[in-house]
Amino acid sequence: MRKALSLLLFSVLVSLGVAAWGAEKAIKLGVIAELTGDMPAVGASCRNAAEMAVKEVNAAGGLQVGKEKMKVVLVVEDNAGKADQSAAAAQKLITQDEVLAIVGPNASRYAIPAAEIAESSETVLITPWSTAPKTTLDTATNKPKKYVFRACFIDPFQGGVLAKFALGNLKTKKAAVLYDVASDYNKGIAEVFKASYEKQGGKIVAFETYTTNDKDFSAQLTKIKDAKPDVIFLPNYYSEVPLQVQQAKRLGITVPFIGSDSWGSNELLTLGGADLNGYYFSTHYAADNAAPVAKKFITDYEKVYGAKPDDVAALTYDAFGLLFDSLQSAGKADREAIRAALSTLPSYKGVTGDMKFQADSRDPIKSAVILQIKDGKFTYFTNANP
């Protein structure tokens, strides 16, 4: 009896010790998301997909890293939709929480400052949704950063796709652009679109700007109306696009609008309603025309969160997939090993399509899709390459 008791005590102690040791050896990953501020829907999608990816891995017993199975622990930080808080969140995750790698932020104007911190602290950061080239480039040398990756295509690619779509599929000859000059993403893609549209034989008749948080676009839209374009390109975030379209219609503008991947949130449909019907935008994947790999993710996500995953959710899920794969192939839970494994990862089959990092670049090669807004839903229209 006594022996049995001491055996029991011993096994309890051992299991406690193992549990403590196991907890210590868990893999900590950080997320920086826009949970508050001007694009909370983006942050929420990012957090939801991150939590789902981690839950799936832990439910399967953890990640096989080297000889051990390790659980994954998620640390989520809010950047409040501010550039300085994005950098501060990256700093906190790296030094205080000691995460192995970071996913996020999503919008380029927040991803760029966070990426600077990650690069200088030698920690891998994958941004799911930042398409501005600057995010993964070193500011001083303009060469690729070492530690910053992304799960999406970049704006020079997207701008080219959209210019070709506007000229070819929509058969337009004159385009106007209205964009937020104070935001990296909007400004970058507006300029690429302009260059690409003009190079392919089109004419940009108006190139108008505003600054973040403006609500009145009447002066710019009146100017655009005066220039008589065939199509208007609005590379702006989902909370602003409905206002721009509604005000344009009130001014008697009847030409179609096109947008970029910043339109891809379900919130756009809630805020814009019927005003957006029939318009097109380019994005990363189409939930209604997804590959078999994506189908399971879409059904699971809908079951848990009650809505179709938007592109941010899909890309965040892929960013975690990339991290898990590279951790497994690295064989050790080490920041430098993750970076090495990620940059040499063979083609990854993600929810948003196949992707692979080139040797000299941190931007994956992948294709875009064009979606159309139809009866209050995003519907697949066509695949697109420039």
Partner: protein, 295 residues
Amino acid sequence: MSEGIVYWLQQTLNALQLGSIYALIALGYTMVYGILTMINFAHGDVFMVGAFFCFLAAVYLGLPFVPTLLLTMLGAALLGAMIERLAYKPLRHAPRVSAIITALGVGIFLENFTLALAPYPKNIPALLENVTWDLGGVSLSSLQVIIIFLSLGLMFLLDYVVHRTPVGMAMRAISWDKTFVPLMGVPLDLIISVTFAIGAGLAGAAGTMYALAYPVIDPYMGIMVGWKAFISAVVGGIGNIRGAMIGAFILGGVEIMVTAFFPSTYRDFVAFTLLMLLIVVRPYGILGQPRTQKV
């Protein structure tokens, strides 16, 4: 009409709409300053809460336009009076800086309180059937007409109240002297509360109209608009009601016209340079009077 004139007329209409909204908010700044020589920096956020009241009335109570407008004005007026009672009254004899810091604090409180309840931008349903008329190339929407005329109506009503009624006379008297006027039987606290309530009520009206014209609202929408209305009040001569209206139409006009005739990226830069020059020429604003400081 020639195309140039059509373009010019259209931009003038745009400017009138923007100016009307700035004016309604600027009145609140100027009234409070006139009476207490205090800048109520929470006023832009009262405007934001007004837009959210409008959202609540329109979506949850399903009210049509007129009751929504009245309810929003009433709600905002009560909020304004309550802020004064709870946050500013205890500080009436404290140094000026304390009151300004408190006002900033109240503003941040309102933003984050709203943020906690409504983290997502909200969409305001169309309360009015919008009709767009085409007048020889100039587009005039029924919404524009309502915003401009309702704002002008409210401004004339306020002007009448301040200059032609006993309450207005009491306000003007208190703004002149806060020590002896109460001795003559003017209820100081009540008049101050009424001033805050009227200012906030107008901000509520502005919130409703803003929400109809720009139907995506969020907790931070009051910051920039609030600043612009404050600048309008200063340009017009802070403390002066007619000045605030003139200042607001000048600011709205300059903003729209700079965009109309220059590259739009220069808007704020050119607009605010012009306003600063105006302040240099007339430091007390267009209708402001220099006040002698009592030492």
